[in-house]
């Protein structure tokens, strides 16, 4: 009986407390929240700033990875651009070659330069075509810009070309403007010299030099180069002209061998 009374009393107290809470909850909770938030303001601000910092830093890892991938892609694209440019240049060069090949009145064999002279003395190149491909001994080798040299040694699948800039090379040439003849010989430094020009001739810088066509080696009227300088040979009865070759022979990649 006593227990029952005490239980009822406790229940009443609890109910009245709950009623009190319900009635006054707004004020209490407000105050409690305000007090709590006031107290927690500083640490909350700190944790908030730390967490927002983390939220900013967190994507960096993925950004770094993305950056790396993008950089790799840029490198790859740059490489592809370079490769395309090389292919484009080669294509243009080969197109010029094909067009030139169509315009010349003789049969030619196109060839690629695969080696060069190791010494500082002679100037020659090795090409990837030989007797099997129709290359003939002592025949002229040309490019779309002009004369390059002649076939000196011939193998089955490769040949050696003596360039016009070799000291042992001799080519009969003439000045296009006045048909003044001379012999074109090479120099070890890669220049050419036209010798045996008569003293009374009016050869001047800028004159075009072409092949004379004497003999069977070189076709006539083939461009060779341009006169850069004219001078008198000391102690000789003729003048000489320094000739700049029409084709840059140090950068040759493709040539045509006349059959």
């Amino acid at each position: 009986m006593r227990n029952q009374k005490s239980r009822i009393f406790k229940a009443l107290i609890a109910i009245s407390f709950l009623v009190f809470l319900v009635v006054t909850s707004k004020t209490i909770t407000n105050r409690t929240r305000t007090a709590l938030s006031d107290t927690a303001n500083l640490p909350l601000g700190f944790f908030n700033s730390v967490s927002s910092g983390f939220s900013r830093i967190m994507p960096f890892a993925s950004l770094r990875e993305e950056n790396r991938i993008l950089r790799e892609r840029i490198n790859l694209l740059n490489r592809k651009i370079d490769e395309t440019k090389i292919i484009y240049d080669e294509n243009t060069r080969l197109k010029d070659f094909i067009n030139f090949k169509k315009t010349i009145p003789y049969f030619t064999v196109p060839a690629q330069v695969i080696g060069r002279d190791p010494s500082n003395w002679s100037n020659s190149i090795i090409i990837n075509k030989g007797a099997n491909d129709g290359v003939r001994q002592s025949k002229a080798v040309i490019s779309n810009k002009g004369l390059i040299g002649r076939v000196l040694e011939i193998g089955r699948r490769s040949s050696r070309i003596l360039l016009i800039t070799d000291p042992n090379s001799k080519v009969g040439v003439m000045i296009q403007r006045n048909r003044q003849g001379g012999i074109l010989t090479g120099r070890p430094d890669g220049r050419c010299k036209m010798i045996y020009i008569s003293l009374d001739s009016d050869v001047a810088a800028g004159d075009k030099v072409i092949t004379a066509g004497f003999g069977e080696t070189f076709p006539s009227n083939m461009p060779v180069g341009e006169v850069v300088k004219v001078d008198k040979e000391p102690g000789r009865l003729y003048k000489y002209a320094v000739v700049k070759t029409a084709e840059d022979l140090s950068k040759l990649e493709e040539v045509l061998c006349v059959k």
């Binding site: 003395w121 050696r160 010989t185 070890p188």
Partner: protein, 170 residues
């Protein structure tokens, strides 16, 4: 000091020849390219003595003779003599000085190219080239270019073969 095998010397000369035929032709300055084969021959002569210099020179010269349009054997003779003479200097100069290396390589480039000119002039009737013109237009640029290139190559070779110790023994 490491011992340098003959096969390794030959292999090195082959690489030098390969570079000379291909890449170095695109690095010409005033029509001249560095003669790295000559640099190797002078190096072997200078650091390993006259016999090694002569052997390396003849081997290098024969390799060059295969690829050039000269009279066959002329380069073997020139490079052999050059290697031998470089070997004679091996005990007479301080080889690790860069200035000495530069001067020696320049001297031997001028010597070998001049000897080449003399021999070709003696054998060829059709050559229309004066020595002075050749000297100023080819020998001087090639000599300077080769000497400049020789200095870092010498440093690399000395490190590679541990030849600094040899200096102390001499």
């Amino acid at each position: 000091m490491r011992k340098i095998k003959r096969s390794w010397i030959f292999f090195l000369l082959l690489i030098a020849l390969f570079l000379q035929i291909t890449i170095l032709n695109h690095l010409k300055i005033f029509g001249a390219k560095p003669d790295i084969i000559l640099i190797c021959v002078v190096f072997f002569g200078l650091f390993l003595g006259s016999s090694a210099g002569l052997g390396a020179g003849v081997a290098a010269g024969l390799l060059i003779d295969i690829f050039v349009l000269d009279f066959f054997g002329i380069n073997a003779l020139i490079y052999g003599v050059t290697g031998f003479l470089a070997g004679l200097l091996s005990t007479k100069v301080f080889k690790e000085s860069k200035k000495t290396e530069f001067a020696i390589v320049f001297f031997f480039t001028v010597f070998s190219m001049s000897l080449h000119f003399v021999l070709v002039s003696a054998f060829s009737r059709s050559l229309n080239l004066g020595y002075l013109e050749y000297f100023y237009s080819s020998v001087i640029p090639a000599g300077l270019y080769t000497s400049i290139v020789a200095v870092p190559i010498f440093v690399k070779f000395i490190d590679m073969y541990g030849l600094k110790e040899l200096q102390g023994l001499l």
